[in-house]
């Protein structure tokens, strides 16, 4: 059995005994996890502390005139995006991960490529193609002069475009789940007389659930935190309201209050998701075997081919083509600058991703060893930063950092030293901010992968004398390689696409491609933004391709 119900297994392996076997000797691990959780939770707590300086007048205005619409709009986004990305991500992941059809090899990596395109780039490209003056509507009006103007700037338009940007999260996770699933379970289902479809729904899909859920949680958080795409569509969500309260009404307190509401929504979502799968334990059964793919026959192989081709066209080929056309129109004479921005972007991503994955691994490892309620809450808090709009998170990080700096510098000055602040405006702080923001992205895939290592492996290693770091270094990490790599590359690409934190916290001279894109798009100069956008996609393709190569090994 690959899927164990822990309630059923109680008789075989009492929980108390099991936990005992797994208990780590060194309390250092708990200290590490605690420190990580505390560091990640700090900005959130700083933001929430504004709840105690209420701005009654603005808050009552917001609740009376704004909040209802925001909740509705945000709910529409989630209600459309989650099913869309789930269907696209799981469906395509199943096709390329477990089936065989013409073009599978190409699509299995090509369908990851859209991950390199940031959602705000999707938004302005698609608006450029489909809005009133874009080529599509112009063509329609040329053929039918009396045609009505079609406005795509609504909840469904935004949802469709964000789904194109976010489906790779689910696709990556579910594909790697389907690929590493033992064939035996599926074959057993087939020999028991299940049709391929039934085997998929009864066996493969439930086995992949922690992965799919992890992907969907990321999609949910990305949706809630998105600012760029929704503002290009002028579609009001919590994020846009937070920005308005802060930058328009100059009330960081109201902005923080709105953020806290957002934080609470995400906590509820996380708890629900974990409750839903808390009764199951997922373990890998049998050896992954890529040679025995499900051969699709007759019309089905063409259905598979065309769904993959359609997604590839919409989510990658079309936007890239449009960007290149724009880029050629407005080509910059000074292209060498983009080399520097590209290098900055990549370096930040690399360092940030390494640190984030190290943190995610430590957290997931400790959680695995003691899945008590305390650790659960610690990990939830630690991964919440992903759902907060980047700028709000940045402020939550900046305020305590500046305070620490000023305290240290003030103290040193009193002692007669001439000190300068070293935390604020430093590269280190910005990278820490990335880690806090994207810990969830790394944690999701590391944690799902850890859940699939059977307890017996740990027990066996333990009886052979491997404990603590040896257990981690010699048993877990090699077994987790794929999960770690997936997580690292998710984070790497996420950091490279990240805009608000970079804008707010970058030290002098550390401009990135995302910063350049912001400078042009915020002035409505989409054609000029195309060149840095193409550069960003090119830089992003390197890790994405590495990822797919690794996954197929």
């Amino acid at each position: 059995m690959s899927l164990k119900n822990s309630r059923n297994s109680v008789g075989i392996r009492p929980p108390a005994f099991r936990r005992n076997i797994f208990r780590l000797k060194s309390p250092a691990w708990f200290a590490i996890a605690g420190a990580l959780a505390a560091a990640s939770a700090t900005p959130l707590l700083v933001i929430m502390s504004y709840l105690f300086s209420p701005q009654q007048e603005i808050w009552s205005h917001l609740t009376e005139n704004v909040l209802g619409g925001l909740i509705f709009n945000t709910a529409v986004l989630l209600a459309c995006i989650l099913p869309l990305t789930a269907i696209a991500g799981v469906g395509l992941g199943w096709l390329t991960g477990a089936c065989d059809f013409p073009g599978r090899k190409f699509f299995s990596w090509a369908l990851v490529l859209p991950f390199a395109i940031p959602p705000y780039v999707f938004a302005f490209v698609y608006l450029g193609i489909f809005d009133f003056t874009g080529p599509v509507q112009s063509l329609i009006r040329n053929i039918f002069p009396s045609a009505e103007f079609i406005d795509i700037r609504n909840g469904f338009g935004v949802s469709t475009i964000l789904s194109l940007a976010f489906y790779p999260y689910v696709y990556l996770m579910s594909r790697s789940a389907f690929m590493t699933q033992g064939r035996t379970a599926l074959e057993a289902a087939r020999t028991l007389g299940h049709s391929p479809a039934k085997a998929f729904f009864k066996v493969a899909l439930p086995m992949a659930r922690p992965f799919i859920a992890a992907g969907l949680v990321l999609v949910c958080m990305e949706t809630l935190a998105d600012f760029g795409a929704v503002s290009i569509f002028n579609y009001d969500t919590f994020t846009t309201a937070i920005y308005k309260a802060w930058f328009g009404m100059f009330s960081l307190a109201s902005a923080a209050q709105l953020s806290s509401v957002l934080g609470i929504i995400v906590l509820v979502a996380l708890v629900t998701e974990q409750k839903m799968r808390s009764r199951m334990r997922f373990t890998e059964a049998g050896r992954p075997n890529n040679t025995e793919r499900l051969k699709l026959s007759g019309p089905w192989k063409w259905v598979a081919f065309s769904s993959c081709a359609l997604m590839f066209f919409l989510a990658f080929a079309l936007p890239c083509f449009k960007l290149i056309m724009w880029g050629l129109e407005s080509i910059d004479s000074d292209l060498s600058r983009y080399l520097e921005y590209g290098l900055n972007t990549f370096l930040l991503g690399l360092v940030g991703a390494t640190l984030t994955i190290a943190a995610a691994l430590a957290l997931a490892f400790v959680k695995r060893n003691d899945a008590g309620p305390l650790m659960n809450w610690a990990t939830r808090l630690a991964t919440l930063g992903y759902a907060l709009p980047g700028t709000v998170l940045a402020v939550g990080i900046f305020i305590p950092a500046a305070w620490l700096d000023n305290t240290v510098v003030g103290g040193l000055k009193e002692l007669g030293f001439n000190a300068t602040p070293f935390i604020q405006g430093s590269l280190g702080l910005m990278i820490a901010a990335y880690c806090i923001r994207f810990l969830a992205a790394g944690f999701g895939s590391v944690d799902s992968a850890i859940q699939r290592i059977t307890p017996s492996i740990g027990e066996a290693a333990r009886t052979l004398g491997a404990t603590g770091t040896a257990l981690l270094g010699r048993i877990y990490i090699p077994m987790l390689r794929k999960g770690l790599l997936t997580g690292a590359i998710l984070v790497l690409v996420d950091i490279m696409k990240e805009m608000p934190i970079t804008l707010m916290m970058r030290p002098f001279g550390w401009d990135t491609l995302a910063v350049k894109i912001y400078e042009y798009t915020s002035e409505g100069e989409w054609e000029l933004a195309a060149t840095p956008a193409v550069a960003l996609i090119l830089v992003g393709l390197i890790p994405v391709l590495l990822l797919t190569k690794q996954m197929d090994k």
Partner: protein, 333 residues
């Protein structure tokens, strides 16, 4: 584990190193975009040898950063767009008053803070642009009149989240009071042809395509668009010539209260207001110079003379929060 420790140490060392690289001749935090400000800094460095270090970002975020950095801020000069943002920065106490005869001479008083904590550096006129094929200029008169029934389903606006529209509404509140302004904004919303746009350029393109007939935009967006596509059937109209005058906003700057290089910052500011820099500053983005001695770019000049609203631009800041609430109530997205 070793790797992790090495990485952490490296990160800390890099952080310390990058912080120690702070010393510069003038440090600017700018909400004005790099491509609209860098050429001026380069020119200033070439002329005086003084180096200008800068970062760009969103006005509110930069402001919050300066506040959090407190006495240890590295910012000497804060450059931002919109008078409301400048007013707010001054209210937050991050800007220090400057006594400079040069600035007083170069910048008219209504484009400066009454307490000299900031000065305007370029003027941005927010005006009406119409489709020449569908509208004759005689039909147009004022911003307020865009709410009349004849503009039903013909008006296009940018989002109320953009500070330029917030300042426009704030100036009407300062002029006419809240109740009257709310009626005007509601009448605009009722006349909208489609939902508000995220950028002036998109609104202009929609006017050209015939989605609507008139839009309220900053003149430089009009200039930029026509530069790219001179065939568009768009023209500029100067409203409120018999009443309050065209709505004028500024981009501007102030010296921070905790500036390390205060003298240098004031010098840079004075230079930016001088006739040498003003022409370039304004023409980079097809704006109007604040310095009355300096002529605008020929393209800008061709749009003709107009009467601007003489209201002190700091009023926009005072009424900005009021304006946002009012637009929310009026259903202006």
């Amino acid at each position: 584990m070793k790797k992790l420790i090495t990485l952490t140490i490296t990160a800390i060392m890099v952080a310390v190193w990058s912080a120690s690289a702070f010393a510069a001749d003038v440090v600017v935090y700018s909400a004005r975009k790099e491509h609209l400000i860098k050429p001026l800094f380069d020119a200033y460095t070439a002329e005086t040898g003084v180096k200008v270090k800068y970062i760009t970002g969103k006005a509110g975020a930069l402001l919050e950063r300066i506040k959090a950095e407190g006495a240890n801020t590295s910012a000497d000069l804060f450059i931002t767009v919109d008078a409301g943002n400048l007013w707010h920065a001054a209210e937050e106490g991050i800007l220090a008053p400057i006594n400079s005869d040069i600035l007083e001479k170069n910048v008219p008083s209504h484009l400066r803070d009454p307490q000299n904590r900031w000065v305007g550096l370029s003027v941005r006129a927010r005006t009406i642009v119409y489709n020449k094929e569908k509208v004759s200029p005689e039909e147009l008169s004022t911003y307020e009149a865009l709410g009349e029934a004849k503009w039903n389903k013909r008006l296009l606006l940018r989002t109320s989240k953009k500070v330029y529209n917030q300042s426009l509404v704030a100036s009407i509140i300062a002029d006419k009071g809240e109740a009257e302004t709310e009626k005007i904004v509601k009448s605009w919303v009722a006349n909208l042809s489609v939902a508000p746009f995220s950028s002036d350029t998109k609104a202009l393109e929609a006017v050209a395509a015939g989605v609507g007939d008139v839009a309220v935009v900053n003149t430089y967006y009009f200039g930029r668009l026509l530069k790219k596509n001179p065939a568009l059937p768009l023209d500029i109209f100067w409203p409120n010539q018999k009443t309050s005058g065209v709505h004028m906003n500024v981009s501007g700057a102030g010296v921070t209260a905790n500036a390390k290089n205060k003298k240098e910052a004031v010098k840079l500011l004075e230079w930016l207001s001088s006739d040498k820099a003003q022409g370039k500053f304004a023409s980079l983005n097809m704006e109007y110079p604040v310095n009355p001695e300096v002529k605008p770019d020929p393209i800008v000049e061709a749009w003709g003379e107009f009467k601007g609203n003489p209201m002190n631009v700091s009023k926009y800041g005072e009424y900005q929060a009021e304006a946002i609430k009012l637009m929310d109530r009026a259903g202006y997205k």
